[in-house]
């Protein structure tokens, strides 16, 4: 029996107060992943009046089982690292809001942030560090059948597909991880890959042959997911011939990469074609006083340690900006 204990979260002193709608903050940080939490530590230490709005603490890091490339820890699990980040922010005390999505932001000399519950906050500068979220297929049946056979977390949900035929959509590392969770227990795993080859790391692809119940459909895409109370079949289209066929399956794991959480800032700052916020090397966006950091930006390479560093940089740029105002 394993125990995945998050010791820090229980010992850390609770030092968060709620965001105050009447207050004008110096800096408001949007996002609670490595970039946002690092930015928070820098802003508070500079004596800025700081608020932070978090949807899910840790973001993608909390979804990662093992991390071996964050310095200081030879191996640490994602949830544990997130708790350590949060604890480090906690020791200073900050105005904090968790579990909320951002509806919109506005620019101008005073920036505004509106939450999904209608409350709005104002600050002199903004740091956007809202990261990325799992990409969805956007096909009929996907939304309706989520939790009814359509799944996104293989370490959570693989056990429910024991003895079933399962489709894994995608050809990258996260798709292969899902295959490795599923192949030992599912009757058959069918990988539907958009491209003509798999893009995962070699070590993960080499392991596929050892299972004997995994097949790959290259250059295919999912057109529809069908089912009543649960998934029954997946309609796929051959990208070369345009022909569609139906795969009978009890489950679909969608692992097709990530999309930036930047919808709420559309039209306010410039973005590239994939929706990443364009930043310069000081984390400035196209709008004065709005800074951005981490996976939501055009920074090359999305890594925990890079996001953390970018968060620090955005915070220092924002502090400089606020100090020049006064």
């Amino acid at each position: 029996m394993d125990f995945n204990l998050n010791a820090v979260s229980f010992i850390a002193e609770k030092n968060f107060s709620r965001l105050d709608i009447k207050k004008t903050y110096d800096i408001m940080i949007l996002g609670g992943g490595p970039a946002g939490l690092t930015a928070a530590v820098y802003c508070i230490r500079k004596g800025m009046s700081t608020g932070i709005i978090v949807n899910e603490v840790g973001g993608q890091v909390a979804w990662t089982s093992g991390i071996e490339n964050y310095m200081g820890y030879r191996h640490i699990n994602g949830v544990e690292l997130v708790q350590k980040f949060k604890e480090q922010v906690l020791q200073f005390g900050i105005d904090y809001e968790e579990g909320r999505r951002i509806e919109s932001v506005s620019s101008g000399p005073m920036k505004g942030v509106v939450l999904d519950d209608g409350r709005s906050f104002s600050s002199r500068a903004l740091i956007i560090a809202t990261g990325k979220d799992m990409r969805r297929l956007g096909v009929p049946g996907e939304r309706e059948l989520t939790g009814k056979g359509v799944a996104f977390c293989s370490i959570c949900d693989a056990p429910f597909f024991s003895g079933k035929r399962v489709v894994v959509v995608g050809g990258g590392n996260s798709a292969m991880e899902a295959v490795h969770d599923l192949a030992p227990i599912a009757s058959r795993v069918i990988i539907v890959q958009f491209l003509e080859s798999l893009t995962a790391d070699r070590v993960l692809i080499d392991k596929l042959e050892s299972y004997g119940n995994v097949e790959v459909l290259y250059e295919h895409e999912v057109a529809e997911i069908r089912g009543g109370s649960s998934v029954e079949s997946v309609e796929v289209r051959d990208r070369k011939t345009g022909k569609t066929s139906s795969i009978s399956a009890g489950g679909v794991f969608i692992q097709i990469g990530l999309v930036p959480n930047s919808g709420f800032v559309k039209g306010v700052v410039s973005m590239n074609g994939s929706g990443e916020i364009i930043i310069d090397c000081s984390c400035n966006t196209s709008e004065a006083g709005i800074f951005a950091a981490g996976d939501v930006t055009t920074v090359p390479f999305k890594q925990i340690i890079i996001a953390g560093g970018e968060g620090a940089k955005a915070a220092l740029s924002a502090c400089e900006y606020v100090m020049r105002l006064t």
Binding site: M1, L5, A7, W63, E98, T146, C153, C156, D157, S230
Partner: protein, 213 residues
């Protein structure tokens, strides 16, 4: 052989020092044909030895049927979390809270002991306004990192309002029940066998559903 290694025992001991008052655990089990019941029993014995504030009482599901009935226990293994006075809090764990669920288990014990994080006023008002019986079943898997927060939220609701009771259910231990509620993703949260939600939403999301039951 002890279940917890030295490091985890020490960490658990430190965490449990934060308990304010005592907590009673009523464990329902049977001696035969239930391997997981025995494992859960061993887990609880070891866990409760880490703090003198945790008082464990073991009941036989059949022989102590009256007590099981009083607490609404309908399957085993079941851990009921009772307050210092032995009164029901509405918090139950069906299965062994191992893996990631150790966190929701500790969180419930701390909260029942009186060590609670404040809930914002507006949400608290909504919780107190619930005036019908609500039964929340949270289906989990022990390898699911997001499940404990859903369990902890459901249990917190139960703790704050007597009309609400909340169960953690390990879907692997109660497969028939999981099939009955078509669980194919966790956490899956079922309200009064009628409404459901997949994934760990915020507290307000739980209340949105409870209010329309």
């Amino acid at each position: 052989m002890p279940l917890f290694d030295e490091k985890i025992s020490a960490q658990l001991g430190d965490i449990l020092k934060n308990m304010d008052g005592a907590v009673n655990l009523a464990f329902f089990t049977q001696e035969f044909e239930c391997r997981i019941c025995q494992d859960t029993g061993a887990f609880l014995k070891e866990f409760s030895s880490l703090s003198e504030k945790i008082k464990l009482k073991v009941y036989d599901f059949l022989k102590d049927g009256q007590e099981a009935g009083r607490l609404g226990v309908d399957k085993i293994p079941c851990i009921c979390v009772l307050d210092a006075g032995g009164d029901d809090t509405g918090i139950k764990f069906y299965g062994l809270p191992g893996g990631y669920e150790i966190n929701s288990f500790i969180s419930s014990l701390l909260e029942v002991s009186g060590k609670k994080e404040p809930i914002p006023d507006d949400l608290m008002k909504r919780i107190m306004a619930v005036d019908r019986d609500v039964h929340i079943q949270v289906f989990v898997g022990l390898t699911c990192p997001h499940c404990p927060s859903a369990v902890a939220m459901a249990h917190r609701l139960a703790l704050e309002n007597k009309r609400i009771r909340a169960d953690m259910i390990d879907a692997a231990v109660f497969p028939q029940l999981a099939v009955k509620h078509s669980v194919s993703g966790v956490p899956k949260i079922v309200f009064n066998d009628r409404e459901e939600m997949v994934g760990a939403g915020p507290l307000a999301g739980f209340l949105d559903i409870i209010e329309r039951l």
